[in-house]
Amino acid sequence: MLLELRDIHVHYNKVAALKGVSIQVPSDGIVTMIGANGAGKSTTLRAISGLTPVTSGEIWFDGERIDTLPADKVVARGIAHVPEGRRIFPDLTVEENLRTGAFLRTQRAEVEGDLEDVFGRFPRLKERRRQWAKTMSGGEQQMVAIGRALMSKPRLLLLDEPSMGLAPVIIQEIVRIIEAIVKQGVPVVLVEQNAELALNVASYAYVLETGTVSLAGAADDLHENEHVKRAYLGV
């Protein structure tokens, strides 16, 4: 396993947000977490990337324990996190946003190559590279956020609600991009409100309910699961 969460507990003040979450992520494909608003999906991602301290439990990434590392050290290990709400830097240009993603990298030529790579993936960003990021549309901002994460040359990509607030046609585009990234060998942990979408693209899925994993299994199996159908797929 590339990433493993063992019995993770997280508290905000005194209130428990995660009550023993265990998750495994293999080194290829998409693992998804679905669940209602506030079930603890985003908190799980924040715990992995070191933004939220864990109260107990262990997180292992490629044979190394990372749950005590601060966020900037977790990135250095190769985990890129596209946070909920995209969180691009509004008053940086598109290109500057992308370049902050490569903050830790020292090989100049490689970075320039990857920048062209990202522009190849998102031609619309290339046209707007000198524009302030805040002037971009929601879908373009999502592309900036994903592109920024790719600039760190990650070994694992965490995506938090990439479909949020986007029109169906844009979501389609984002999904294609995610699939292309996975195909090129970067595994993805996808957190989604839109369970139908998530279960369609992922190979393995976890259902989170009030801070615990209530169900886990192959995405196709969960798609046919009665509880999941009733609670999350609206069937």
Binding site: V75, A80, P90
Partner: protein
């Protein structure tokens, strides 16, 4: 009359220069670290006393002492960051209050080291340009203007063209997202604190021969700086420069043609007006704090 107006313009440009240096430093610290450095006026004072100590008393060449002022005050900034801003990172009010404590320490240190009386410093040069008949610009003031232009341009280039510059702006806009790019807030804070404090130190060192330092000179400086950063839109570097120019002209003209106290009141009312109309400052766009 024309000469008087032109002379006042020259004076205002000079005032705008050192005020920008101070205010930009304060804005940089606030932007990156989210804390108001109440001791910023005392950092300016520390820069001035570096000149008193090294140039007046020991005889080190003036421009060497200016560089020494930058480094010494920059290090004071680092000391502040490490000793209380960093431990109080999640407590902006605590950081502000600790900086008030530091203000008292710096002020008392100056009193103990140099006495409460004004320190008169012989300017390194008495030379001056007569721009036109009756309008004078001393070299000493010209140094301040040039230093402000050069240093602020360098800062601008640093922020726009270098990796650490982008990182610093990224931290100012969204600390958490910046951390997710591998940017260490502690490292960036140290850089911001060094630069921010250093700029105040340079301003203090360069103006020392023109203002006769006292241990209490920081008070009016911090008031001025607050006015500028509020009018300029808190966290906005360009706004701070524009506001410094605006404020310097208003203040200098009111002082020259009316009265110094009235000029101070005008400045404060300007700031209150901005706060009432637009609590994020005239040039500000983002909701902060």
């Amino acid at each position: 009359m024309t000469e008087l107006i032109l002379q006042t313009v020259v004076n205002a440009v000079y005032a705008a220069s050192y005020m920008s240096l101070i205010a930009v430093g304060l804005v940089l610290i606030f932007g990156v670290m989210g804390v108001i450095n109440f001791a910023h006026g005392e950092l300016y004072m520390a820069g001035a006393y570096t000149v008193v100590a090294l140039y007046s008393q020991v005889g080190v060449p003036f421009f060497v002492t200016v560089v020494a002022g930058l480094i010494f005050v920059g290090l004071l900034g680092l000391l502040m960051e490490q000793s209380f801003f960093k431990p109080l990172r999640d407590n902006p009010l605590g950081g502000l209050i600790a900086s008030i404590g530091f203000l008292l320490i710096l002020q008392t240190s100056a009193v103990l080291g140099f006495g409460v009386r004004m320190a008169h410093i012989r300017p390194p040069t008495q030379a001056k340009f007569e721009l036109i008949e009756g309008v004078v610009l001393t070299h000493q003031r010209l140094f301040v203007i040039i230093a402000a232009i050069v240093l602020l341009s360098l800062l601008h280039l640093f922020l726009r063209k270098t990796k650490f510059g982008w990182a610093m702006r990224a931290c100012a806009q969204d600390r958490e997202a910046a951390a997710l790019q591998g940017i260490s807030l502690s490292q960036i804070s140290r850089i911001a604190m060094f630069i921010g404090a250093g700029l105040a130190g340079v301003a203090g060192a360069l103006t020392a021969p023109l203002v006769s330092p006292t241990p209490y000179m920081g008070h009016s400086v911090i008031v001025t700086a607050f006015i500028i950063i509020i009018v300029g839109g808190i966290g906005q570097l360009e706004g701070a420069v524009v506001a410094a120019v605006l404020y310097a002209f208003v203040h200098t003209f009111v002082t020259t043609f009316y009265d110094g106290v009235v000029a101070d009141i005008t400045g404060l009312l300007l700031m209150l007006l901005v706060l009432v109309i637009k609590p994020t400052g005239l040039f500000g766009t983002k909701e902060r704090a």
